[in-house]
């Protein structure tokens, strides 16, 4: 077995076997999935029916509170004082008091409860009341709800990209933004997380003094590259496990709780209901659904229009290229210091282009083909992050190709520089190193 693969193997296995790796691998998907699962799960859990007594002095609203499987509305004794006393006696969840309004239309209500009243109850009541009040106001002004419905307009702008040969393609700016931003942030974190691991690994070898034993058997360059590649594999493993585990969790949950899921989605529609069309709640829903369907149809077109082969291919390329470029620099920094505390002065030039890229990302996403976007996606230190933002919007192939070639050269260059610093640095103990010193190391003969 060749030495570099031995080194890769060791770097990989020692990290993958670590408890922290295993915990993080399982905790990550749990966290990600739980963002989505927990609210649904919790809402399906609360089977307890909340009984809310209503003291409606206006007499307008009570009938409208239909309740659902979790909420039940009952008429309260028409006297506030007694009703409040009964709240405790009867064990009701809350007492809704809607006082007689000063003007024609009421718009306030008070919800008395023993505990802090839950948000879904509040928003349910609010939604119903809003619908009813709006209906009253419409009637007051003599507006026919049908007319209003016909006035309400949804405007969609379909963006269609036309390429030089006249082919048309539906696109969605939102989807492009999301895909671009997501992959950029992923690359950013991957570089930082695993680049820092390379650095820590080098420092560990230096401080534990294993380094001199190892490099009497292998070339410093082999050791450095073995470490960088081994940790890259660790990163890929973790990433793939996250994707697979998160997907399994989410789909598994979706399958197991199909019914609850539907109920949840329905309740969300009611809560989010605009309430402008009080008398035709069903029709409104249908109209909304139709609008949504149209929307979804458009989104699907746009999703299909994105060239996934290009996106996935370039994601993997910039993911790996960016990591390799920076990991070599991280290794050089690790070799130049005796402890992690000393790394700060050398970390600056590495972190600045990375952080700058992620800050500029927000600007570039609004103008993905401007000059800043162009140049930053060519410069190897920023291109992995910036190019990934641009690609979902569509970038000419020659630009991707140029940027890719520049990144490869950038990687070769940083690795060459890093290797020179590394092979001198790893044998240097207890010496305070500065940039001038590093510069000299570049010219030492091997």
């Amino acid at each position: 077995m060749s030495k570099i693969s031995l080194i890769i193997q060791r770097e990989y296995l020692t990290r993958v076997k670590k408890r922290s790796f295993i915990i993080l691998t399982f905790l990550g998907p749990l966290l990600m999935a739980s963002i989505w699962i927990v609210p649904i799960y919790l809402s399906s859990l609360s089977n307890e029916v909340k009984v809310i007594s209503v003291l409606d002095e206006t007499g307008v609203f009570f009938d409208k509170f239909e309740g659902d499987e979790n909420m039940q509305f009952v008429q309260a004794i028409p006297q506030l004082k007694t009703a409040k006393e009964n709240l405790n006696k009867l064990g009701n969840y809350a007492l809704l008091y809607i006082p007689k309004p000063d003007l024609h239309v009421p718009n306030t209500a008070i919800l008395y409860s023993k505990k802090q009243s839950s948000l879904d109850v509040k928003s349910y009541i609010k939604g119903i009341m809003k619908k009813e009040i709006e209906a009253q106001k419409l009637a007051l002004h003599g507006i026919d709800p049908e007319t209003l419905l016909s006035i309400k307009t949804n405007v969609f702008i379909s963006s269609i990209k036309v390429d030089s040969s006249g082919n048309e393609e539906k696109t969605s700016t939102e989807i492009s933004m999301a895909v671009g931003m997501f992959s950029s942030i992923l690359i950013y974190f991957f570089i930082f997380l695993f680049g820092a691991q390379v650095m820590r690994g080098v420092i560990e070898e230096k401080t534990s003094r294993i380094i001199e034993v190892v490099i009497s058997s292998v070339k410093p360059f082999q050791l450095m590259m073995g470490k960088i590649l081994g940790i890259a594999l660790v990163g890929f493993t973790q990433f793939m496990l996250w994707v697979v585990l998160t997907a399994t969790l989410v789909f598994g949950f979706q399958f197991a709780y199909q019914d609850e899921l539907k109920a949840f989605q329905k309740s969300q529609i009611v809560e989010n209901g605009q309430g402008l069309f009080p008398n035709e709640p069903v029709e409104t829903e249908i109209a909304e659904t139709q609008a949504q369907d149209e929307n979804i149809g458009f989104f699907i077109d746009a999703l299909l229009a994105i060239d996934y082969a290009v996106i996935l291919g370039s994601f993997l390329f910039y993911f790996l290229g960016g990591y390799l470029l920076y990991a070599a620099l991280f290794a050089a920094v690790g070799s130049a210091v005796d402890s992690e505390a000393d790394t700060h002065q050398f970390m600056m030039p590495i972190t600045i282009p990375l952080i700058l890229s992620i800050i500029m990302a927000q600007l570039i996403i609004t103008d993905p083909n401007g000059p800043i976007a162009f140049w930053m996606s060519m410069f190897p230190l920023t291109s992995p992050i910036i190019m990934m933002i641009r690609i979902p919007f569509g970038v000419p192939y020659w630009e991707i190709l140029t940027s890719g070639i520049l990144l490869i050269f950038g990687f070769i260059f940083t690795t060459w520089v890093a290797a020179k610093i590394y092979r001198t640095g790893i044998l240097m103990y207890g010496k305070k190193v500065n940039y001038k010193e590093l510069w000299k190391w570049l010219f030492y003969k091997a």
Binding site: M1, K3, L6, I7, R10, T14, K18, E204, E205, S208, R209, I210, I211, E212, V213, V214, I215, S216, S217, V218, L427, Y429, K440, Y444, K445, A446
Partner: protein
């Protein structure tokens, strides 16, 4: 010669670490590489290990120019030595043995033999950080020799060992020599140099200032000093002392004197005997050769003047 370095020069920004140093290591011998701190020993050892390259000079291994693959014939125990703390002992030893060119199966077999020999078989699955420094040193020693190299390089091998383990190591080092290996031994411990080294080279300020066989160097540095055990009064003897003799040291035990005489230029030990036998009872006489310690200090002081 198993290994030769000729006129090695290594410069760093601001100083020269080695300035035309040559060493020759015969087969089946123990070679002491001596010198004060900062003399350039570690740089030379790193060059022999091909960790760094010389700016000038040539290196020969087994009579031909040294090659990258020759590192499989060299075992190196650095002075600043360590192990991966979080790795298990056995796993780590296998890894390092594989880096030295052994197959996994060979590595495991050889390691088991040595672990048994050093009575540390029970540590195989322990993490390095659980072991004491002395225990780690034993493992480092095993890793250094596991691939049966022709040339062994030990940089301060005994530091951190208790006397029992030092004895164990010395025995193993001599064993390797008897089996045909050559050993470079870099140390400040002159007692061990005298005990086990055949040849030495003394480096100071980037240059070789003394080299050769230990016995001939000692002869070269001898200063005609003899220790005589005799009976009689010291004062009485001092009165009669001829000019070509001087007394360096005197001790008295169980009624007999042990006196160190230095014989002046042009006179012989026989003159000393004649002088003493005339008036006193001589019980014994032996020549005192300088210790390596004294030779070291004397040589280094001479160059720094």
């Amino acid at each position: 010669m198993l290994f030769e370095a000729k006129n090695i020069v290594k410069r760093y920004a601001g100083h020269t670490a080695l300035d035309g140093v040559s060493i020759s290591i015969p087969e089946q011998s123990i070679f002491g590489l001596l010198g004060p701190n900062g003399a350039g020993k570690t740089t030379l050892i790193r060059i022999i290990n091909q960790i760094i390259g010389p700016d000038e000079g040539e290196l020969f291994f087994d009579g031909r120019n040294i090659q990258t693959s020759d590192i499989y014939q060299i075992g190196y125990l650095p002075e600043e030595r360590g192990l991966y703390k979080k790795m298990k002992v056995g796993e780590q030893a296998i890894y390092l043995a594989q880096l030295k060119g052994l197959s996994r199966a060979d590595a495991i077999r050889e390691l088991k033999v040595w672990f048994e020999k050093f009575d540390i078989g029970s540590w195989w699955n322990k993490k390095v950080e659980e072991l004491s420094k002395g225990m780690q040193q034993k493992i480092q020693f095993i890793i250094t020799i596991i691939h049966k190299p022709k040339l062994l390089i030990f940089d301060e091998p005994f530091s951190g060992f208790d006397p029992i383990n030092v004895q164990l190591l010395k025995k193993e080092i001599l064993n390797f020599k008897n089996q045909g290996a050559s050993i470079i031994f870099s140390t400040h411990n002159m007692a061990s140099v005298e005990e086990i080294c055949d040849h030495i080279s003394l480096i100071d300020q980037a240059k070789t200032i003394l080299e050769g066989e230990v016995s001939s160097i000692k002869n070269k540095f001898k200063a005609n000093i003899y220790e005589v055990e005799w009976l009689g009064q010291l004062d009485q003897m001092k009165v009669k002392l001829p000019s070509y003799l001087s007394i360096l040291d005197n001790g008295n035990s169980n009624g007999s004197n042990k006196t160190k005489f230095q014989i002046g230029e042009g006179s012989k030990p026989n003159d000393l005997m004649k002088f003493l036998m005339d008036d006193f009872d001589v019980l014994g006489l032996k020549e005192i050769l300088p210790s390596m310690d004294e030779i070291f200090i004397q040589s280094v002081n001479a160059t720094s003047k």
